[in-house]
Amino acid sequence: MNSGLFGKMPHRRGLLLASWLVVGTVMLSGCLFEPREPEPPGTGIKIEYLPRSAPANVWTNLEKSLFATHAPGWEDNISQIEFRYIPDDEARDQFPPNTFVGWDRPREVTYINNFYNSNVTIIAKMTEDGYVFPPATGNEMTVEDIVYDLTVTNNIDGSSVRYRGKCDVIFRLEGNFWYIYEWRDLQGESDPDSGQLLNTMGVLRGTFGSQ
């Protein structure tokens, strides 16, 4: 008959107690792992993200993250629980089958870190002029037909590639904040200057997400 954790002290109880002592010592001794000491912010350099109190702010934060190639700004605005990306057919067909299958938050985080670490300068405009986000309401919102535009310049060879796409995005309220839960690219849009058909960010995800 079991008489509680510390009642009788048979051999196995002793082992369990010893296990707890080891683990408890580790836990009580404080942090096992220590992050590095960061450098204080430099003067004149700051990225001012908006509070994630509305989907429009979340979307704007992505633009700020792109400008600054600041990965935490992207990671903080996509769902912390469940994220999915669905590419447009054109982007999907440019990569091996299954490249985008099960594209979740870890894949998105990998993509954005690889992208930002690839020595690029990004000029981004995440909505067209005049596009108005619907007001934040409820626990989930689908915002449709967002047209984004970004130009990615490689600092090594100076080449510049423009991406422009239309997408539907589902935002969800998690805790007290809005996050992007689903990003569905619909189609590539034309370069407003040359009329050339451009790729969506699906091509960037396919390129950097699998590295």
Partner: protein, 694 residues
Amino acid sequence: MKPASGMILVFLAVLGLGSLEFDAAFAQDEDPTGAEAAADSLDDGMTDIERAMAAARDPDQAGHVQQATETDEPFFKSMTNVPKAGALANVRQNTFYADWVTTIKFQKNSMFKNTFKMSTEDYRKQDKSVQKKDNTFTYGLGSNLPFVMSLDGSWNWSEDRTTNTAGFANLSARDQKRAGLNAMKTNFKTGFLNNTVKMSARSMDNASINQNQRNDFKESAIDGGFQTDMAIADGVRIAGRLYGMTLSGDRLLGTKTEDSSANGDTVGLGIYYSRNIANGRVAITRSSFEKKYLDFKKNANGLIDTVGVDEDDKVVTELETNDAISYELENNFRFGRFGVETRLTRQSNDLDFAQSGVGLRQREQDVMDLAFTFAAGRDSFAVGYDYLWKWDDQRYKNATENRGKQVNKARDYEIRYFRDLFKRTKLNLRYHEGLSQDIAQAAPGQDRPNENDKDRHQTDISARLDRTWVGKFRASMVFAYQNVQDFNIRESRSSNNNIKDSYELSPGYAWTISPWLSLDQSYRVYIQYTDFSYDDLESVNREDDYNKRGNLATKVVIDPTSRLNITLRHDYNKRFSATKSDIDASGNIFYHRDLNQTINKIELILRFVAVQGVTLEASTYRTRDNRETFGERNTITENFSGEMWVGTTVRRRWFQKNPLELSAMVRKYNAFGPSITETSSDYWEADIWLKWEF
């Protein structure tokens, strides 16, 4: 199945994949003692050809092929046709499709299967239509030959016509034909060696066009593999494997034509053991390939960049080479109530492009996973430690130095404790601490690496208590605490460094009041404090804040009759946000409230079985969102949103012989709210199909 055959099946599956997914540089070896892995390889994820080959090899396992019991069975055993036609509709697109599957079974498990599919898709929100036609056949020769052999072929045709917002019309079309021959001999003995040999040949003819650029190729490939294994002691086997492939053909990309080729090989060696208290494996695999093909000009990031490039220079002849090696050690040790699991791996990979600006890309990854488990009476205990170290480096085309390693280092430590406190009462405790670091190393000659160094340190503590009165009442209580430290290391990124502390308390219960009535209710209180590390600096425009949320979710399920089901849900949310406004001399912190929000959502779902196989369904919800924001100007907004759908589900089957089957789900949706557009405010959702088997 013999243990060794498990490994061989997996090996053959890997070979099969290898011939198609040749880029899989980190080919893995499998455990010859692991029947589980072999079972997985026979799962539904198999292609038709794999299934046919598996059926011939082991009809019992394949399931859908009858065992040949008579040696004088007829040459032709049966033919089955299954035509199917259907329609799918949702908020995005309408699809009409038709399939025709023909299966012919011959003597000795020989089988021919042909699948024809066609569909047309019309997009509701986009100016886009897609038409597809596919035909696939497989022919397995069963046990007619002393080895397994099969033929397969496919034809895929598609046309995607899309006109974008600016009126640019594009045709993306593809016409692809494939044919293949597969043969293998498994489990044949030569002395003390147990062997498997596999060979396949494949031919592909592809014609496609996109944005007026042609992309055609005609290629043939042949590949083969050999694996042998032997017992070196009781419960210990050693296995070696060799695989090679070659491909050649012609490609047309844009206006340029060139011959294409690929060559690759994989060699692997492993020792596998399963003895009394321990099992595991040690394996090493090396693989390499070389591919020559036409490709668009790519920049140092691997992105197609043909803007401003002469037409003749847009397409280049690429030569891609890859070398990969992986080491793996896995050991599972169990002694009585103790268990220790260890897994160590190292994978490295060099990928080199002759033309692309990417140049040479190098990667390496080390993983160590340790787990310790212990059970004693009503207590059980698990401790885990995971370690990851990986880096990638790159030498851009024509560069003389590497760009510098980008390192990711992650460590996780976790403790779990379970205890049956009292009768039907369980306690579950969890402690987790993890640190993930991105470390950029400066390239030789540079004094500073890239700016994206960052650390994320996370601590989680949670306790969960569950009590169950079987069939009547279930209650739970959850407490969780989380601390997350997000630190950017460089000065250009560190202004947003912050520490978040979150607390959550969630009691809940589920009560079966009577067989026709149940009540489920949960309450959740959540609060998060955000402390910005440098909010005291004038140059940093961030202030500490906190957020609170209360959530009460109620669900009532009523089953007044066996045919009627009613579900009622109510979700009540109350949210507050506030920002630090001041701190007094005693250190008391004052907050300024930014937001008050209340969200109420009520939902009703009805299901009624009208007659057997016919269910009437309806669902509706309505949400009210009251939002009050405080700032220079206080604002109050109230939004309503809602949705209603009504529908029917029908599932009918007629005739025992040559059955005719109908499945239909039709729903009509209407929705309103601030974010509801015209296309999503009124639409049909349907999944209807009719199938006949004869």
